[in-house]
């Protein structure tokens, strides 16, 4: 029933100015105790199911030393993996080495996800991270040589002062890398980030939207399939792990600040390392009513270009979507479309999907 596992490694050698994820500076002495606590959590929650997707995210998992990584993979050995498992680890170009890549390959990792973000070094200070596109090229070439075919690269855009031309140059660079998967994120300034504290503002939504359109257009021209609001991939290289989220399917999330979705509840782990190590892991449990589960079904599936499968919905909830969320009105108003028994947000309105979701979910209240 539960066939996905997320593993959080919160350590980073460097803290990026925009990052809102659970993270902390890498400290040698913290790593092994953390990994022990992680192992304890896995032992407690994991019920020996066959796992189809594993995703090691962060933080920066690749900043762990080879020895520390070996301990991590040793822990994950007990996870029963399906023969077709998708096994991903997040890396940054700064900390990953050939040796680490070889280790990943050896333990069965078959998908890499790199944060490139931008190629323009003028944003180094603003983003608070190193930007070196030559290094990126080198590492990717190594990774391919070692045999990784399934690679994602993250691109960020909508930085203060960024131009459409700069975004286009970034896209061209990523295209030249010839990777199978590209995730793009417009910069969101969150409260508890360095940028948020400095009261930086997001760029105008008009320019942001233009950048998004440019990205969609160029990536599609080069054979990528736009399959989720901000995700693009070659045929057959969609992220199975992320599709678990978007299809509203269960997953374990272990580690500091990790989130899990288990039958009838969503659980969020603490971001406090000391509490986590003491086993006081859970900070928030959202018990889900059937209605809540339906709402998540919509929120998540409608991020996908293919939309929500109405038959799947019926199979899951034994009631038709229309009876719970009368969507026909929004279809008539040109916000939603029905195609091949899938309900989807009109493609050119995907970028304003919150507005539409709110109408769809709460419009009747």
């Amino acid at each position: 029933m539960i066939s996905s596992l997320y593993v959080h490694i919160p350590f980073c050698q460097n803290i990026c100015s925009y990052c809102d994820f659970c993270k902390m500076y890498y400290q040698k002495k913290e790593i092994l105790p953390y990994l022990r606590a992680l192992e304890e959590e896995l032992n407690q929650v994991y019920q020996n199911e066959t796992i189809k997707t594993i995703y090691i995210g962060g933080g920066t998992p690749s900043c762990l030393s080879v020895e520390e990584l070996e301990v991590l993979f040793k822990i994950l050995e007990k996870v029963k993996k399906s023969p077709q498992v998708e096994y991903t680890i997040e890396c940054n170009f700064d900390s990953v080495t050939k040796e680490k890549l070889e280790l990943f390959k050896r333990v069965g990792v078959n998908r890499l996800s790199f944060g490139l973000e931008t190629t323009h070094s003028r944003f180094e200070d603003y983003l608070g991270r190193k930007i070196d596109s030559n290094k990126a090229k080198e590492i990717l070439s190594d990774a391919k040589k070692i045999g990784f075919q399934n690679i994602n690269v993250d691109l960020m855009y909508a930085f203060k002062g960024e131009t459409l031309e700069e975004v286009e140059e970034d896209i061209d660079f990523i295209l030249s890398l010839d990777v199978s998967h590209i995730s793009t994120y417009s910069l969101i300034i969150e409260k508890n980030t360095i940028l948020g504290i400095q009261k930086e503002k997001e760029i105008s939504s008009d320019l942001d939207h233009q950048m998004y359109q440019l990205i969609c257009k160029k990536l599609k021209e080069h054979g990528y399939i736009h399959y989720e609001i901000s995700n693009f991939a070659f045929q057959g290289a969609f992220s199975s792990h992320n599709l678990t989220y978007w299809h509203n399917q269960y997953y374990y999330g272990i580690g500091l600040g990790a989130a899990s979705y288990l039958p009838e509840k969503r659980i969020l782990n603490t971001r406090s390392l000391s509490k986590y190590k003491k086993g006081q892991r859970i900070i928030e449990v959202e018990n889900l009513t059937t209605k809540d589960q339906m709402i998540y079904e919509l929120i998540l599936n409608l991020r996908l270009l293919e939309g929500l499968d109405l038959d799947d919905f019926y199979r899951k909830f034994h009631t038709r979507l229309e009876e719970n969320f009368p969507y026909q009105k929004l279809v008539n108003r040109g916000m939603l479309v029905i195609e091949e028994n899938h309900l989807k947000i009109k493609e050119d309105l995907l970028y304003v999907s919150n507005y539409i979701l709110e109408e769809l979910i709460y419009g009747e209240e």
């Binding site: 939504s205 919150n354 709110e358």
Partner: protein, 599 residues
């Protein structure tokens, strides 16, 4: 006993220390100990909360001994919300004297004068007090001179106090006893008790504040309201010291509270006279200067099912706010609501705030309008309190609008700014009075419609807060006015129409469409905004379509957060009114009165 009663009010410009002075008097006379002062207030607040009373009863009775005699002093505070002079005037009607408080640093302000004139109209004995003499920037001699020059007090009758340190409070109490007359009136005469305030209590019904002028009132008496003719049996009488003290009777000269199990709030009118059924008074007391509503606006519940709750809320508010008037009206855009009349903008804001806070009803208020007199071509005269009720242009012979005369007290350096502001608002210059070398009283004639919205804010900001403002209604004056309509998405929205002067229409149209553009949040589709005189479009603008609101990243697996975000977004929308395809926030309805000269 009656000879030893003193009924008085404290009048002051806002922030001149009225409340602290009142607290200090209570403490000094032992009505409350300084230690209890806080406790007392907290206790009564709990009580209030328990009983659903949200406004304090505004009278305090206490004893003061002077030269071997014991005096009963009744301090009748003006109710918390003061919209210019009205609230003060009804409290003054219950008094024989008033303590006029002036801040030692600020000097005389516009409301000081306005309240003083009201007190004089009520034939009250005035005791001038300069308060806050402990302030480092107090300028006692200058303020004394103002009181002498402007009002004609003698230097020796001016009392100096510091409510903070307690200095001068004894002198003030002495002056109250010595100078303010004992109430006249006969205890054996037929009952005449003035209702000067009332509130609704869910346990006891309406609680009435009264000042007994003649006769006496006992628990068990059957009383009659002279204006409404309604009869009730008195269940309870009490005074506040400020603790509630039950009493058996209230006699001529006394102030207190009456409960009579009155559930129907409409039977009690502030300003009415209570008499006894068995021994009726010949006539009602003259009450107090009744104020007419000057400003009208529409109040609409955002959720249309709340219409009846809104009616009930307005009824309860009217209990201690006789100046509030309301009647049902319908708007094509907003549905069912009420046309409400207020004394001014502050009054309107308070009512709106209380409806939201005390009754939990989210409402939209339309832009305030004054009352226009319209002479039709058949010479019939009609009164119009809302722009959308304006008759067709062809039927109008003449339009008259209300004008007011200002008193703007300000330091001389801001004369230029103030005159500029008045000029922009179609003001007609009258004169400038010099109070002293550094302060002036500026008089302009202004259309009331030009001050109802943001005049006061603008005045404050262009004088760094130094100017104070008051006005008198002077009459109706013919004006060249036209109705300006607003169209959203090509549809005319009745609730957004305004009346503007013809010469200012283009400029106003432009600033209104621009401020609407700012006030209306982006929606899924573009919203064209137009201002029109009849069928003639005079200004246009566009609210651009929403371009982005999605979260690119789903926070790893933390999707709960996304749902919370949507819920928050929904809450925000609940405060908006859906009109056709467009969602309008409250600001949009007010922005039609925005008169920024933006180009």
């Amino acid at each position: 006993m009656q000879q030893n009663i003193r009924n008085f009010s404290i009048i002051a410009h806002i922030d001149h220390g009225k409340s602290t002075l009142a607290d200090r008097i209570l403490e000094k006379t032992g009505a409350v100990s300084s230690h209890d002062l806080k406790n007392q207030m907290l206790d009564s607040m709990d009580l209030e909360r328990e009983r659903g009373i949200t406004i304090k009863l505004n009278t305090a009775s206490f004893y003061y001994s002077f030269e071997g005699e014991k005096y009963l002093l009744n301090l009748i505070d003006t109710p918390g919300h003061v919209d210019f002079s009205y609230e003060v005037s009804r409290s003054l009607a219950a008094c024989e004297g008033a303590v006029l408080v002036v801040d030692a640093a600020q000097g005389i302000e516009a409301q000081t004068l306005a309240n003083l004139y009201l007190a004089l109209e009520n034939n009250l004995t005035i005791i001038p007090v300069i308060n806050k003499i402990d302030l480092p920037n107090a300028n006692i001699s200058k303020v004394k001179q103002e009181l002498m020059d402007l009002i004609g007090f003698q230097e020796e009758e001016i009392i100096l106090t510091s409510a903070k340190t307690g200095e001068g409070i004894e002198d003030l109490l002495e002056a109250i006893v010595k100078k303010i007359k004992a109430p006249e009136g006969k205890a054996e005469a037929p009952l005449q008790a003035l209702i000067f305030d009332s509130i609704f209590d869910s346990y006891r019904g309406v609680i009435i504040s009264v000042r007994v002028f003649n006769g006496s009132l006992k628990v068990g008496d059957t009383i009659e309201m002279m204006a409404t003719g309604k009869k009730f049996e008195v269940t309870e009488l009490f005074k506040t010291t400020p603790k509630e003290i039950k009493v058996e009777t209230l006699s001529a000269g006394e102030v207190g509270f009456v409960c009579a199990a009155i559930k129907d709030i409409a039977s009690v009118e502030v300003g009415d006279t209570i008499t006894l059924e068995k021994k009726k008074a010949q006539q009602a007391l003259s009450g107090y200067k009744k104020m007419k509503s000057m400003v009208y606006c529409g109040l609409y519940p955002i959720e249309s099912v709340k219409f009846e709750s809104l009616r009930e809320a307005l009824g309860k508010l009217k209990l201690n706010d006789a100046a509030l008037v309301f009647e049902p009206e319908t708007s094509e855009a907003l549905g069912f609501g009420f046309r409400c009349g207020f004394l001014g903008l502050l009054h309107m804001d308070i009512v709106k705030e209380r409806i939201t806070r005390e009754f939990g009803i989210e409402i939209i208020t339309t832009a305030p309008s004054v009352i226009y007199q319209i002479i039709l071509t058949n010479d019939e005269k009609i009164l119009i309190d809302a722009p959308n009720k304006f008759p067709n242009k062809e039927k109008i012979k003449q339009i008259l609008e209300p004008f007011i005369r200002t008193s703007i007290l300000s330091p001389t350096e801001y004369i230029g700014d103030i005159m500029g502001l008045c000029q922009d608002r179609r003001g007609i210059y009258e004169n400038i009075e010099y109070i002293n070398r550094s302060r002036v009283n500026i008089h302009y004639q202004l259309p009331l419609s030009e001050i109802v919205y943001d005049f006061f804010d603008k005045l404050k900001s262009s004088t760094k807060g130094y100017a104070s403002f008051d006005y008198d209604f002077i009459g109706y004056v013919p004006s060249d006015l036209v109705k300006m309509d607003i169209l959203l998405n090509g549809e005319q929205i009745d609730a957004l129409s305004t009346i503007v002067h013809k010469d200012f229409a283009y400029q106003r149209g432009k600033s209104v469409v621009n401020s609407l553009k700012e006030a209306i949040p982006r929606q899924l589709f573009e919203v064209p905004i137009q201002a029109a005189l009849g069928t003639h479009i005079i200004a246009r603008s566009t609210v651009k379509a929403l371009r982005k609101d999605v979260l690119a990243k789903c926070y790893g697996g933390d999707i709960t957060r996304k749902k919370k975000l949507l819920e928050k977004q929904k809450e925000g929308k609940k405060k908006m009114k859906q009109i056709g395809k467009v969602e309008l926030p409250q600001e949009a309805f007010m922005s039609v009165l925005n008169v920024e000269n933006k180009d």
